[in-house]
Amino acid sequence: MPSSATGLPSSRLAARDAAAEAVAGIVQRPGRTVLTMLGTVLGVGAFVAVLGLTATGAGQISRQFSVLEDTTVTVEDNGPANNVAPPGTNPTIGFPADADAIADHVGGVVAGGVWWPVSLPENASFSGSLALSGASSQTIDLLAASPGAIRAMGLKLVAGSTLSTFENDTDQHVAMIDTTTAAALGISPARLPSHPAVFVDGIAYTVIGVYSSAQRVVSDESAMLIPENTALADYGNPTPGIGGEEEAQMVIATKIGAAETVASQIAAAELPTDPSRLVVTHPPNPQSLQSEVTGDLTTLFLILALISLLIGTVGIANTTLVAVLERTEEIGLRRAVGARPRHIAAQFLAESVTLGTLGGLVGTCLAVVVVVIFAAAKDWTAVLNPFYTLPAPLIGSAVGLLAGAYPALRAARTSPLAALRHG
């Protein structure tokens, strides 16, 4: 644009020239440039790495939850509103006799049934078949379980068979035990055809199956499972009440993603006359759980990232200010050859923004490498959201812009006379 009074075109600094001058200014002192960038590298790197590692970890948690926990619904019997049981006895369990069949008819249910820990007197003894002369001094949980509950528990059979509806309906004295219990009682899975028995305070239960692991309820304990009706006949009704350790419960295995729907329907299906007696729980939303687990840590690391960015900002500001003071002679020269104050400001601002952007770029790259290596080491899948990873270097640009503002203003205000005298 021609200057009105002189007829000469105004002084102008093209963006390309400003960028070239900025790069030239930065590469003058590579060592100082690298050190100055370090704060931004750490800040942006920490930011991207924290979010990347969090997302990667969250993905892992989500996967683990989705397989089992998200397909389990638990129903607890809170007991009747008015305890109608005779003194010294427990009320009838809240679940109907055909609870298993009812559960099977609810959409999304794979299997479900009633179980409870049988209340045994203190010092109750478990011993193996006399023929095998085994005895156990360790704690074994005696659990009553319906055939549906057995299926829902997802037992991995090693030998024998599971408790059947027939055995339940006919109060058979049969049992399933886990391999640890079997070993403790001296019952070899290979000997099941000889019908070994476990004596619980003198009552014999024929072992018909041995399992090695379970997906639900008895997954990490030594347990002995007997039919529900056999338990009712031998030990009476379980103790009611939420929070009680021996209350009757239902365990329901659902299809993936159906847990919430099943949870909302099961109480009314099982006990339509008094659904509020049953308390239904299903696993927490994996996403919200993941948020709880990682939320505090993420906040902490993001604060650290912000602090690093702040340090980076101060570092760039300090270096740019020192550069302005060091280069007053250059400022004077540029003014002498036609630069306007805004051109001087633009140059120093371009230098600090370039410095910040480079720092952001390097930090982002390093963070991506860290996340990928970390995920690979853990055999996880690296998760990096492009919505924050790709623009991350711009955080460095913003830092550079912020840091360069004051030094650039100061450079622009430098008198060309003072600058030339400086030399």
Binding site: S3, S10, E330, R334, A336, V337, L420
Partner: protein, 230 residues
Amino acid sequence: MTAPVIELRGLARTYPASPPVLALRPTDLVISEGDYVAVTGASGSGKSTLLHLLGLLDTPTAGRYLLDGLDTSALHDRERSALRGRRIGFVFQAFHLLPYRTALENVMLAELYNQTPRAHRLTAAVEALKAVGLGHRLEALPTTLSGGECQRVAIARALVNRPSLLLCDEPTGNLDSRNAAALMELLDELNVEGFTIVVITHDAGVAAHARRTIAISDGVLAERVEADHA
């Protein structure tokens, strides 16, 4: 008669102090196109003040300064910057070369703000360096050049955009006698080519090269005319 490049009418510069410092008293002066003027004086006489005013690096407190017939006194900084970039070439005693940039880049800097395309800047800078005898040191850094070579780079930078006025501030101040003599020869040649040159110096030998000598003392100019100067 050639057109005046510089025309001062009552130009004065007073620095605020107590009492105010009259660095340049009201001055009238005309320097024509092709003139070769030496301004001599002792330290503190007002030489630098005059140079800064002539170079549009400072503004007068009174009077008018016409450069190429243009009254610069009322110009905005934007216009003064444009004039500096296109009409005035500076040669400083301290060279003022950017130490991390090559000789070529230092010369190209003179047209950086003139909206001149880069290719043209490059060509012009090469030509200017060749003109001062440094065509073989285009990529040399100032730190590897001698004092004389540095000052030649500075002169190439000053004349690359063919300014109306070449302002030289003690151009031989940092040079030995041999380099100083060579530099003055170069300035003489440039004057012969048509450049208008104003040299600020306290060195009588340097002043002797000029066709006009203006002495300055306590901010007052006094011209000594030597009609038979070669």
